[in-house]
Symmetry: D3
Subunit: 240 residues, 6 copies
């Protein structure tokens, strides 16, 4: 039923941590992927740093009164069991069908995830007990807060399956990068290509920003025409 | 990955075919289930008769340009493969995330389902090539029609899994009844209880309707007070 | 708690039955009222004739599981009691908060309304048991059909109060006109002014339509410039 | 037209002020009530403390240009008159149909409510003049801010009636608890039962959180199996 | 302000009239265009035949009470003037921001369009006076019907500009094909490529449908594997 | 294609900077304009001061994959060219169709606008690279943040045209006032009338607020009856 989770190299984490989600979406769009930004995944607290990790997915369907009960929390297929299956350093990505009136997790579940070394939680739903969740120190990206428990609106059905999170198809072990602008998905198969292009794109935009700060107009600069491209290439050679 | 499909007894089909989805939702509500009607499942053609069958589920997530391609239609996990796994007399229930701008199936897939003896198609999405679909004779309940193919908006990920269809949690082999008012789910575990209560509820409402047609006022009649309940019980004894 | 219902003169009914809801909304807009068309109030069956009547209002709030139960149907404040308070020839206007997944009324309640001489039912919600409702012969304008009973999503709280129906404020005894384009409200205080202007507007548009059928271009004709206004006035004098 | 407002005992306020809205929604769900959290009721300012009080309800319908005017603010049925009817310590709960482009109240009305000793304002709509409202010191839970006055989108129709606030049915004198997660309704008739269960639930969750902090896994702990339940009961006996 | 309208060759019209919008969207998706189907453009009457034509665009912005008045209908920038600028055989494509509570055109404007030889009207909004509009014989694709005039919700601002219609970018003179599944856009620059691929796709799908009717399973057939592709190619050679 | 931009007198800016958007919407409503507040235009950073300026408009339509590409950023009709056409002290008002999953501008474009002396940016869409945008110091009012570039969801089509921004019709050179409550439009033709009424309204509300702070009840005060109006007029005479 569920896909085995994979590690992500420290080097990949290091390199991608230096690339904004804005740059990644530009790079992915150039490769034909327009739909990689998970709608609704906003930082729960100000100042949360950029994170990079493999997606560990959880899936909900709508609540059914015979299934979505507090008793279900003790069943073998429960959010509790899913959390115990999460590897350290993963990013838990929870498909909650954009439901904003039932919180998927509260302080207790977030505390346990933190204990297990989970890097962060990303969902198109909401969390509950916001002060408790913030107290656990687990970084969360979500649509906000609601008091009711998950079973008021959702039935949990499994983990490490393909899911919809914020209108994006997320498969287990896809790479997720999340910062102040929200969460972006990099398909696992495209990782190497994306890294290469992203580092270059980030460097180019830094150089363009410098020109703008010096008063240069945008046409011909962003994107660069031949003349500006040449200037940029020359500048690049001066880098250490 | 997928649950084995089960048959449904001819007797169950016969009895439930005489019960309206309205009556079933009333009975299910009395058992505490308020969320069993799949939003958006409206008859594609006028006059489609009531159907009863086990749910054979299909699941979509949002389109991702590297996965949702015409080429994917030939992969082992495709809507084509799912259709070949459908047993006769099942009702295909397709979770399409309420997407109305990409048609899950067109004439070719519906024709194949009809050939395989599938009883009907229920979805919270839409179909494409409406005149072709109507031509196949497969009864369809859906949100309407759109020209684009499924891959314009959806990625197919599997069959006989728990799904969301129109805001209702549907598990493989749950029972589906569908008529002019749309599709209602009966959880497999509650089937016997529901049948018993539904037949009685249908009979009572028929009797009440007769009283209304004879000019009786509603208070005390619907629901019946002790006096009217007694009259009803007496009438019931006169039935063959 | 509830306002007494008033009759509407046969003469008013006769005159307004000859005026389209399109013309009425134009006339009301010229008097500064832009928000008088109840969104979602579409004919349930093709060919329903235009109706005119005083609004008899019903009000729902969201379902609360301790209140919205089948048992509540027997309480003194119930849809059943409301129906028994409806005068002949009124138009029942039901504020259902645009809820489309719980039917406010089914065949039994509609049959009773028909028996009481209610002219028609207008709601921003839906009805249930569509074939049964059509069978009663009561003309209905609504958002469509759903199987579940009202208590699956709504709690009934009273009648002849100010309500929201389809985004329009409806007060008891306001006048409602409903045809193929849906339901329009005429505030009771504006009735006489509206009738006068509407009859004239209808006549002018008939004349304009004739000119268009004869090939005249629109600029200067609709709205008419001085020359065309004069032609119209001349034509009007030839009317019986 | 309007229900008389009732006081709430200081003891009830004290006890419920120690219970989170998260715990209350869990307790209410166990009693079968899933729909008690008012969508959109978020704190206007950070750090607003938890409040408990009886609901004093206000009701709006959509704007009608002949009724929703600045002049209407002087009529006997106006938000001004409603405010003068509010008892000290109540929580004003305003049903604004989730309208987010017209502010129900600005600085002047909030200042007057503060003067009258109203505990707080809860609405599914928005306020206007946010800096002015914050200046009054009245705690507000709402969907945010908009510049236009209420009459740009809403017509006020009465107070102390049953209302819809954020998709929840609120009756006058129901109990409202509001904190960082938003506003939760406790039906007046269920108050005693809820208090008893809530205090116990809060204590249990505190104990579970402690176990998680000490590294215990979730399965068997939350909800507790027999062994953990016994440990909890033993611990509970050690409490003062 | 507005782009000159262009004719479309009779040959193009003839060829595309034999291709379904379903096939066109498949072909366009293979060229990387997923967003070409105008949401909400459904046939107003049953049985409307497929139409092909150049887009003649009209643009609305929201209503502003100082501009959106009946008097504005006589101004030089009005829907009336736009209609007089429409060439015969064009398809009028009206961007109405998906507004469903104000009808863009009624019987008089549609009658004039019909007189001018306009092929059809496509909009993401609605029309008013449905019986009148149907009476003119102008084929219309839209979201339905509303009684209020355009100025109740919309301000007209120009024609033959780039517009949004149903979430699709439409430029003047793009090609529009519309049938029972709604309206599809072919960018003018891609027309020749699309025609070629569409005719071939239509033929292939016809052949596949025949195989399905003869009982062949879908895997390997749709899309065809090498063996079936060869069979298809052989069959194609037998065509006249 | 685009209207020439006009300056705004320093005096007008000075006077309107002292008037809240709340007061302006009240004044405009009294003149019959209810729809002047641009939905979704919220301050990106806390504490942004009130701004006043002429609108310089930009217009987007939905993304089309053949047009909305990174290459398009270098075309003559591009957001880059539009920015170079902006005069100092204008307020850029961008109609982005309420799209929240593609950022219209990031740090580079905002930096250039700041360099050109643009007063602020108002949009019904979102920006990208929020930390970069905040770093430029350009005040922004918008719906929030998204990582993807504009071309992921939008095609830019022109500037200084009539647009829809947040459901409001904005014409080039209309006056925009924006503060903590969002952005309000003053039609250019109504500017003088609005200024006069707004200053008086602001003064009256200040006086009313003082009375409330001294404990006066609302009825008869807000709006003032004859007695309170006289008191206010007397007080006004004491002003310097």
């Amino acid at each position: 039923m569920s896909v085995e989770s994979l590690p992500l190299s420290a080097d990949t984490v290091r390199v991608l941590t230096a690339v904004s989600t804005g740059t990644l979406t530009t790079v992915l769009l150039k490769k034909g992927l327009r739909n990689v930004w998970m709608r609704g995944t906003m930082p729960l607290a100000p100042g949360q740093p950029r994170l990079v990790g493999r997606a560990f997915t959880l899936r909900f369907v709508p609540a059914r009164e015979d299934l979505a009960t507090p008793a279900s929390w003790g069943s073998p297929i429960s959010t509790r069991a899913a959390i115990e299956a999460m590897p350290a350093c993963c990013i838990a990505v929870v498909g909650a069908m954009n439901v904003t009136d039932a919180g998927i997790f509260g302080d207790i579940l977030c505390a346990r995830m933190k204990k297990r070394g989970v890097a962060g939680l990303v969902t198109d739903g909401v969390v509950r007990d916001i002060s408790g969740v913030l107290g656990t120190g687990l970084p969360v990206w979500c649509r906000g807060t609601a008091a009711p428990p998950s079973v008021a609106g959702l039935t949990f059905v499994g983990w490490q399956e393909a899911i919809d999170c914020g209108g994006v198809a997320v498969f287990p072990n896809d790479i997720v990068v999340v910062d102040q602008d929200g969460a972006v998905l990099i398909p696992a198969a495209l990782l190497d290509d994306v890294i290469k292009a992203a580092v270059e794109q980030e460097r180019l935009e830094d150089w363009i920003m410098k020109q703008v700060e010096q008063g240069q107009a945008l046409p011909g600069l962003y994107p660069p025409n031949a003349e500006n491209q040449a200037k940029y290439e020359a500048w690049k050679k001066t880098l250490p």
